[in-house]
């Protein structure tokens, strides 16, 4: 009964909620570390996926442009980081210089891909971006000859971890008598970045630019007739999405310490797309939930289904990797067929339901 709770009270409740979430997020890695450091790493990966999914959400969810080669921008960011901070070229630039370079280069790639293709109808854009993703991967695989740039399929190893002042994110440190491991440090760094990305997404959506994206998504002809320069606004979505991908890629490089073209296949693009679709295209909170679910569920399956199969059948019938992919496939199909708006209703939908009740 919302009528009984006055506005002041509600605001206080909201703040209390924020504080609780903040505390939970702050102590989460230490709690997870009790279960196993692997779970801290899994959480970090999940945050990276939230990052990626929110970037793709700008392109697919807000502007309605189906980008199936999104992972290419992730790859660009990852390789920029790897090349500028590893023994490969013997360059060791600090991460706060590399991340913007990666973002900018990914953005340039986004504009290069978008300029000729954004006037095409949506399904053509989808297939061209799919091809683009493949091209980037083929180049990464082959740019080892005649000049060794990417080191080919072997990938690049010994990538520098993030360092801020004396804090090395790859090692364990004692802080006030508590052992803080590398993954835990990365967790906080990623959490900060993620909060920034979430804030940017939320603010963009509820802005003049965000509305223009949604107008393009809903009806391009009408959007143009309302004075929106649809070409520029689509390009903007593409470029912004790409730069998010670039930053996420850089972080991925730093955390993993090793990258190879294998990490940037179509499968990854589909996975990020599945996260956006599951959460509800254009719905920031839904997309975050989608990314978290699709990052954790396969891992939980890995730890449960594998032993269960061995216990029941005596051997492994379905590899967890296969189950994971089937999960993504079914998520895409079933969501589109039965809940195209995603698992959580969007804010507009909610407002509409409220105004109807009123």
């Amino acid at each position: 009964m919302p009528g009984l709770i006055d506005a002041r009270h509600r605001k206080r409740l909201a703040w209390a909620g924020v504080v609780v979430v903040a505390i939970v997020l702050a102590i989460l890695p230490f709690a997870l570390a009790q279960v196993g450091t692997a779970w801290v790493r899994i959480t970090n990966t999940a945050i990276l996926y939230v990052f990626l999914a929110l970037g793709l959400n700008i392109v697919v969810g807000f502007a309605g442009l189906l980008d199936l080669g999104y992972i290419a921008f992730y790859a660009v960011g990852a390789y920029v980081y790897a090349l500028l901070a590893s023994p490969h070229f013997n360059l060791h630039l600090p991460f706060w210089i590399i991340l913007p370079i990666g973002a900018a280069l990914a953005c340039v790639f986004g504009v290069l891909l978008g300029t000729p293709t954004l006037k095409l109808r949506g399904d053509y854009l989808a297939i061209v971006t799919l091809g683009f993703g493949e091209i980037i991967r083929i180049f990464l695989n082959n740019l080892a000859r005649p000049v060794n740039i990417t080191n080919g399929p072997q990938g690049i190893a010994q990538i520098d971890p993030v360092r801020i002042g004396d804090i090395n994110f790859a090692t364990t440190q004692q802080v006030l008598g508590v052992a803080v491991t590398g993954p835990i440090k990365y967790y906080y760094l990623l959490l900060l970045l993620m909060i920034a990305v979430v804030a940017i997404n939320v603010r963009l959506q509820d802005s003049r630019i965000g509305r223009a994206w949604e107008a393009v998504r809903e009806d391009e002809v009408a959007a143009r007739a309302m004075g929106i320069n649809t070409r520029n606004i689509k390009l903007l979505a593409f470029a912004m999405g790409a730069s998010f991908g670039g930053v996420a890629g850089g972080m991925f490089s730093a955390i993993q310490g090793f990258i190879s073209p294998e990490s940037f296949g179509l499968v990854e693009s589909v996975m990020v797309l599945a996260m956006v679709v599951l959460g509800g295209m254009g719905n920031v909170w839904g997309v975050i939930l989608g990314a978290i679910l699709l990052s954790f569920v396969p891992e939980i399956l890995r730890y449960t289904v594998e032993p269960a199969q061995k216990a029941i059948f005596g051997r492994l019938l379905l590899e967890p990797e296969v189950i994971r992919m089937l999960l993504f496939g079914f998520a895409l199909v079933l969501m589109m067929l039965f809940r195209p708006a995603g698992i959580v209703p969007s804010s507009v939908r909610k407002r509409e339901l409220e105004s109807r009740r009123a």
Partner: protein
């Protein structure tokens, strides 16, 4: 000149496979203006089913090899048709009036599902196609070591020509063909004329899937392997071929397929030499010295073969979206 001729022959072989797959894309597009993303997976399923049949029958049954191969095709076609039918029913029909993004996304989901079901049924590893028919190589130029053509290549080119002829007959000379063309022109009116639109659309998917089955067997026999991910790149290339020819246009798909095959083969054959930095040795002594040690300073070798199809696709979409024989595709009001 012999290299050139050889690449043309290789290109025609590959191109006729692309053409058959491209027909599947173009037929579906022509009738419901939708890109059937999962079409490549149907090709893969065809290759896999035929593989299993051939392996099962060639193990000591004493059947003549040609009959074994034919059984493989005969087994692949109905399975693929069933898959094609199911795709349309499950993924596309319920979303026929949904926003454009929706069927694309379900199609991608289905691609992933089909790939991994195939992985479960067959294997994660590439499956070697049994060489049941011995490869015979025919010399087609006078000089020894010149261009050649194999019996497999002849069979693929001949088989696709026959398949295409059959399809053209079906579309232009039968009642079903008329119905298909009518639905492609105007669904509502076709419906009013008593045509069962759903049935026609289903049949279009089924026919396209039948073609895909044939293409799957051809690809498997030509490369000698089948793999659960083989459909993805193949599908993309065939789609590029359909766009090159003008999507929605049967003749365009055939032309686009053959052209793309030839472009790829020539690209693989020549781009490596053309982009070899050693060609520039005359300009730089440092380069000349380097080339004396290693004469292969190729920028883009044949390992970039897969890139050509996409470059063709992007170039066509940018400069002539209607393709060689088709109508305009970009939407402007």
């Amino acid at each position: 000149m012999d290299t050139f001729l050889q690449q043309i022959i290789n290109g025609l072989t590959l191109g006729s496979v692309y053409a058959i797959v491209a027909l599947g894309y173009t037929m579906v597009y022509g009738i419901i203006q939708l890109i059937n993303f999962a079409h490549g997976e149907v090709v893969m399923i065809g290759a896999m089913v035929a593989y299993s049949t051939i392996v099962a029958l060639s193990g000591g049954t004493g059947l003549p090899p040609a009959l074994v191969l034919a059984s493989g095709v005969a087994a692949a076609i109905p399975v693929c048709m069933a898959v094609g039918y199911a795709l349309e029913r499950v993924a596309y029909r319920p979303l026929r009036h949904a926003p454009r993004l929706a069927p694309l996304i379900t199609a991608i989901g289905l691609s992933i599902i089909l790939q991994h079901l195939a992985l479960i049924v067959w294997s994660r590893n590439p499956l070697p196609y049994p060489q049941i028919i011995a490869t015979v190589t025919y010399q087609i130029t006078a000089t020894a070591g010149g261009a050649t053509i194999t019996n497999v290549q002849i069979a693929i080119i001949g088989g696709s020509l026959a398949t295409m002829a059959l399809l053209l007959f079906l579309v232009y000379r039968t009642k079903l063909g008329i119905a298909m063309r009518a639905v492609a022109q105007n669904q509502q009116v076709a419906g009013l004329m008593g045509i069962d639109i759903n049935r026609v659309i289903s049949l279009t998917f089924v026919i396209g899937a039948g073609l895909a089955a044939i293409a799957g067997v051809m690809v498997g026999s030509y490369y000698g392997i089948a793999h659960y991910q083989m459909g993805f790149i193949l599908g993309l290339k065939a789609f590029s071929a359909a766009v090159l020819g003008g999507i929605g246009n049967l003749g365009g798909a055939m032309l686009g397929g053959l052209l793309l095959g030839i472009i790829e083969a020539l690209g693989a054959g020549y781009v490596g030499d053309l982009t070899n930095l050693c060609n520039l040795s005359g300009w730089s002594t440092a380069l000349a010295q380097r080339c004396a040690v290693d004469s292969n300073l190729t920028l883009f070798g044949s390992n970039y073969q897969d890139v050509f199809a996409f470059l063709v696709l992007i170039a066509v979409l940018v400069f002539r979206p209607s393709g060689l024989l088709g109508e305009r595709v970009s939407d402007r009001a």
